[in-house]
């Protein structure tokens, strides 16, 4: 994703999604209005996946709701696949898959096959697609399982399968990996990557930033209803963290941050190798070493970047 076009309107109908300076106020009847978005903007090219990170109540789900046409913003403009999401919501829903608050609800008395066949019928999708999706999401053999008896993980697999049933051009996923085990997350990452390679686009929110980092190409931060765009590609924010057996006494390169026996540096292989060589030379052992995705670092920074 380029970083040179986060301002201006939504003139490009070829973009997968565009939101410009959105302000959203919830106005429930007989309750005080609540401002959910103050100024939110995003632009998403086709075939790209964008992560939206931020603390609880930052407005992530609201932003997805606007893109799904469920809320008309008070101010600003939104375009999804070239359409006004509020005006053209039914038409858009043929082309967009949506998961809000990590769940889809079906009658508990139904079984897995019923739920998938119902959604497939709603979208005019041939029933054979149901079998394909069940296979892809590890639900094969569970067609007759009642929803009330499904584990949380299997329920989430079903929720995800539902989103992809009609082969959407764009997916809006809010907390897609809730309750999924590591193996399923891995399989889902692979599945999503394949779709992205085929041209699908995605906007994804998640509090599991490590997983989100694997799912998305880029990210933006949403804090108190305001989007903040990273200063560069989110991959540049990726870090390697080390814990050594004792504090480092020698002069470190400027990019390396040290705090006691903890070191953190950009995920630049040359820099990492250079540091490891030096540690080896000094006889310092590395006790722990792990990577942090750019999304994780960006989410932790919260207020970093430009608004």
């Amino acid at each position: 994703m380029k970083h040179d076009h986060w301002t201006g309107g939504c003139p490009d109908p070829a973009e997968a999604a565009c939101a410009q300076d959105l302000r959203v106020v919830y106005r429930p009847p007989f309750a005080r209005p609540k401002i959910a978005l103050v100024s939110a903007s995003l632009r998403l090219k086709r075939g790209v996946s964008l992560g939206v990170v931020g603390p609880n109540g930052a407005g992530k789900t609201t932003l997805l709701r606007v893109l799904a046409g469920l809320i008309r913003p008070d101010r600003g403009e939104a375009r999804v696949l070239g359409l006004d999401p509020v005006v053209h919501r039914p038409a858009l829903m043929r082309r967009v898959g949506v998961l809000l608050s990590g769940a889809r609800h079906f009658p508990d008395r139904w079984n897995v096959g019923d739920a998938l066949r119902f959604v497939a019928a709603m979208h005019g999708v041939p029933p054979r697609r149901v079998g394909e999706l069940m296979e892809a999401f590890g639900l094969a053999g569970k067609e007759k399982d009642p929803l009330s008896a499904l584990s949380l993980g299997n329920r989430q697999r079903l929720n995800l399968a539902v989103v992809f049933l009609h082969d959407p051009e764009l997916i809006l996923l809010d907390e897609p990996t809730l309750a999924l085990d590591a193996q399923t997350v891995e399989a889902f990452t692979h599945f999503l990557r394949e779709r992205l390679d085929q041209g699908m686009s995605a906007v994804i929110t998640s509090h599991d930033h490590a997983v989100l980092g694997k799912l998305v190409d880029d990210a933006l931060l949403l804090d108190q209803g305001i989007t903040r765009v990273p200063r560069g590609p989110v991959a540049d924010y990726a870090r390697v963290a080390l814990v050594t057996d004792r504090p480092v006494a020698f002069a470190l390169p400027a990019e390396v941050r040290a705090e006691g026996n903890r070191l953190e540096l950009p995920n630049d292989p040359r820099l990492v190798v250079q540091l490891l060589d030096r540690l080896d030379l000094e006889g310092i052992r590395v006790m722990e070493m792990h990577t942090k995705t750019g999304v994780e670092v960006l989410a932790r920074a919260r207020t970093g970047g430009d608004s």
Binding site: P90, L100, R104, H105
Partner: protein, 240 residues
């Protein structure tokens, strides 16, 4: 539209399959419904001074209509009280979707209750009731109740919790349909009561009841469409 009808059919099959998983409950549920409604119908006939068979039929028809009224606000929520926004994630205008699914539900109710009434009437009276009257009464009652149900669906979309009102309206339907001596000229305009009156006095033209039923449906569909716009403007589609 075809997609919606297919989806509604999937829903019918899923619901039926679930009921058939528990065959004893399924059979005796209908048996109990039939017996209870027949008994209530006899009681209603005695208090309102109508013929016993008509009283029983009126009870079946009223129960079918009130059931539809109760079900419509729950059509797209799986019976649970979660926000309506999920229903708006399908590629159909909400009002059309509700109308089609409600129609299929109405047909389901009609088939079930008319079937049970037929069997009950055969068992008790030893002769088959006039199918035209039974189906006509049921259709008229379901039409008015559907319109009122759509209005309730619209209110539920915006205000979320409307169960108290729903119960009151259901009681009102029964009261208007079965209160003895309540025979104002405008009864044809009242959902359920208009149909029950026609069952009692089939010589009267059913046309006014039909027209008012269609009017209720039209008003209800308009209300759903208006409510859909309201929840999007207020941002309360996902409001708990």
């Amino acid at each position: 539209m075809n997609a919606l009808v297919r989806a509604a059919w999937v829903k019918v099959r899923a619901d039926l399959a679930e009921q058939l998983r528990y065959p004893v409950q399924f059979v005796f549920g209908w048996f109990t419904t039939g017996a209870v409604l027949w008994g209530l119908g006899l009681a209603a006939a005695r208090t309102s001074g109508t013929e016993a068979g008509v009283g029983a039929l009126a009870t079946y028809v009223a129960m079918g209509a009130v059931s539809l009224f109760y079900l419509i606000p729950r059509l797209l929520a799986g019976g649970k009280d979660h926000p309506p926004e999920e229903a708006m994630l399908y590629p159909h205008p909400l009002a059309r979707m509700v109308a089609v699914l409600a129609s299929v539900n109405a047909a389901q109710i009609a088939v079930g209750l008319v079937g049970v009434y037929f069997l009950a009437a055969l068992t008790v009276t030893r002769h088959a009731p006039a199918l035209g009257v039974v189906l006509g009464g049921m259709a008229l009652a379901l039409l008015g109740a559907a319109g009122a149900g759509f209005l309730l669906f619209a209110l539920k979309l915006v205000f979320r919790k409307v169960d108290g009102l729903a119960v009151l309206v259901q009681l009102g339907f029964f009261a208007a349909a079965f209160t003895p001596g309540l025979r104002p000229d405008w009864i044809a305009a009242v959902p359920v009561a208009g149909a029950v009156r026609w069952l009692r006095e089939p010589a009267i033209s059913p046309l006014p009841v039909l027209l008012f039923g269609l009017l209720w449906v039209f008003a209800g569909i308009l209300a759903v469409a208006r409510a859909e716009r309201a929840v999007v403007a207020r941002g309360v589609a996902g409001y708990e």
